[in-house]
């Protein structure tokens, strides 16, 4: 019995490793093509920008040229402002564009953007390839939507008004989980799409 269980675990482990390997091959394959690289770059950067807009860290304001930094950037960078949101340490203004620099949020947005970009790139390559799977290229991007929504939870969930919802403990708890759910969803779709590519 225990031998069978151990064998089962080993088989599951091998399957998981195989899935990762397949996805790795799919990602490398997608990035070896120009359209794959372009898709990943544009989608990744686009996602990062939308995420920062959602946080309220990127937007337009009075025109100017400025870079100002708080007095204690290292301490501030680690202070939580909300779920997965940290204190900005700098404000950069170029023309009408304002960017609040929160290093951890930029890192998080970059990670999410990377996952969205890779999802789209692999999906696109799979879609165009001979063994076209039934997955549309939009699936990876859709998986990233909760992450963008999570950004709007900052400073009072005003997005709820746009969505026509009234805040409640349940809704606010849900908002707190949007970002980790996004990461899981993006990794999940990437593995799924990768498997389709190998098929």
């Amino acid at each position: 019995m225990s031998g069978e269980a151990a064998g089962g675990r080993e088989a599951a482990g091998n399957r998981a490793l195989g899935l990762l390997r397949q996805s790795g091959v799919a990602v490398r394959g997608a990035l070896s093509r120009r359209d794959g690289r372009a898709t990943a770059a544009v989608a990744g950067l686009g996602y990062l920008l939308v995420y920062l807009v959602g946080l309220g860290h990127l937007g337009v304001g009075p025109s100017g040229l400025e870079l100002s930094v708080v007095a204690d950037p290292l301490t501030r960078a680690l202070q939580l402002r909300g779920p997965f949101q940290w204190e900005p340490v700098a404000l950069a203004v170029v023309g009408p564009v304002e960017l609040l620099v929160s290093p951890l949020n930029i890192a998080l947005g970059t990670l999410l953007g990377l996952l969205v970009g890779l999802n789209l790139a692999v999906s696109l390559v799979a879609y165009r390839g001979p063994a076209a799977c039934k997955l549309g290229p939009g699936a990876g991007a859709a998986a990233g939507l909760p992450g963008i929504l999570s950004g709007f939870a900052c400073c009072g969930p005003t997005i709820l008004i746009v969505l026509g919802l009234q805040a409640s403990a349940t809704v606010l708890t849900l908002f707190q989980w949007l970002l980790p759910l996004t990461v899981l969803a993006l990794v999940g779709t990437l593995l799924w799409v990768g498997r389709k590519v190998e098929a």
């Binding site: 100002s68 204690d72 204190e87 404000l91 009072g156």
Partner: protein, 354 residues
């Protein structure tokens, strides 16, 4: 809003040095249940009427979606002269006149901080603003400071004091949790007005600057804007369900409300500015509200003897003499602007006068 840009690239060097020195840290915030580190803010001598049992308010504390001090108070405010400010005349400011000193706190800055721990006229005070209920109130703070708890009651900012970690919803000004539970803060009037009006009345005023110690996109209000009004401030949606809903008046309609030890009363602000004098009653005692056209606000007085108050040139006629709106020969009670749903939620079935 005609804001100008700060230009301080030189701050970069100082920032690096400060970081290495390990200075900073906004708050030595208590986490609740800790040992009080001081007496906390001074209490008012009298109690205020609270429209609900404290337990009811305590049970209705809701998570506002941000952690304690996730909205950071301004603890080292900096001010500039009126001439240096780049506010538009129609921008909303919260004005305080105290001990011969006049200060203006722009709404577009306070929407990002909600509390300014300041000293005005030599007194340590906190000037507070809750965007969701449209209420600006001032409190004595003694040696302590107030912070934003991240919790709301009836959509209203719930402050905590950093000595005792007691929780004080702003509108009721009474602690509903912590060692100071049941005590009432000592308050003073904060005038909700516009920059043009405040500056006209107080040419020597100073204005809170954007040098708050934090980086924010101060031109961006997450809820909407007041000049011109739009977004949350004007629509009929509330973010959180009110403690009590009262559809006598649209939820965001602005009233000037007052609460005494006996009850609460709300005057429609627009009606007051138009009629100049309105009269209501708290528990059988007449109260009269008079408009101040200079600041587009109003003041409320207890009027137990129901003496006549008539609008006159340059003020109000009481007993044959004309007095300024803020200096009638009656006992003035604290009153402040707020959205109707907030007043109606905290003080169920309060009289509404228009």
């Amino acid at each position: 809003m005609q804001r100008t840009r700060r230009a301080w690239l030189g701050a970069l060097g100082a920032a690096g040095a400060a970081a290495l020195a390990g200075c900073g840290g906004v708050v030595d915030g208590l986490t609740g249940g800790g040992t009080p580190s001081g007496p906390g803010p001074p209490a008012s001598e009298g109690d205020l009427y609270v429209g609900h049992e404290l337990d009811v308010l305590n049970e209705n504390i809701t998570d506002g979606g941000v952690p304690k001090d996730g909205i950071p108070s301004v603890d080292e405010p900096e001010f500039q002269p009126a001439d240096a400010a780049s506010l538009a005349d129609g921008d909303v400011v919260f004005g305080v006149e105290r001990g011969g000193e006049a200060k203006a706190y722009p709404q577009y800055i306070l929407v990002h901080h909600e509390i300014v721990n300041d000293t005005v006229g030599g007194d340590p005070v906190a000037v507070t603003y809750c965007p969701l209920t449209g209420t600006a109130q001032g409190f004595e703070r003694g040696e302590t400071t107030f912070g934003v708890s991240g919790r709301l009651v009836n959509s209203n900012l719930t402050m905590y004091d950093r000595d005792t970690d007691s929780w004080w919803p702003q509108v009721v000004a009474t602690a509903i949790r912590g060692p100071r539970r049941g005590e009432t803060l000592s308050e003073f009037r904060v005038v909700w007005t516009t920059w043009g009006e405040w500056r006209g009345a107080h040419p020597d005023t100073v204005v809170l600057t954007e040098e708050t110690g934090y980086q924010r996109r101060y031109g961006s209000d997450p809820y909407g804007q007041y000049n011109p009004p739009r977004g949350y401030y004007t629509n009929d949606e509330t973010l959180f369900e009110p403690l009590v809903s009262d559809d006598r008046v649209p939820p965001k309609r602005v009233v000037i409300g007052t609460r005494t030890d006996a009850g609460a009363l709300a005057f429609d602000k627009q009606a007051l500015l138009s009629e100049r004098v309105l009269t209501g009653s708290i528990d059988g005692t007449d109260h009269v509200a008079v408009a101040d056209a200079t600041l587009s606000t109003g003041y409320v007085y207890a009027n137990p003897d129901s003496v006549g108050v008539e609008p006159g040139d340059g003020g109000y006629r009481v007993g044959g003499e004309v007095h300024a709106s803020d200096a009638l020969p009656l006992e003035r009670v604290l009153a402040f602007d707020g959205m109707w749903f907030a007043w109606a939620g905290f003080y169920p079935e309060l009289p509404y006068v228009r």
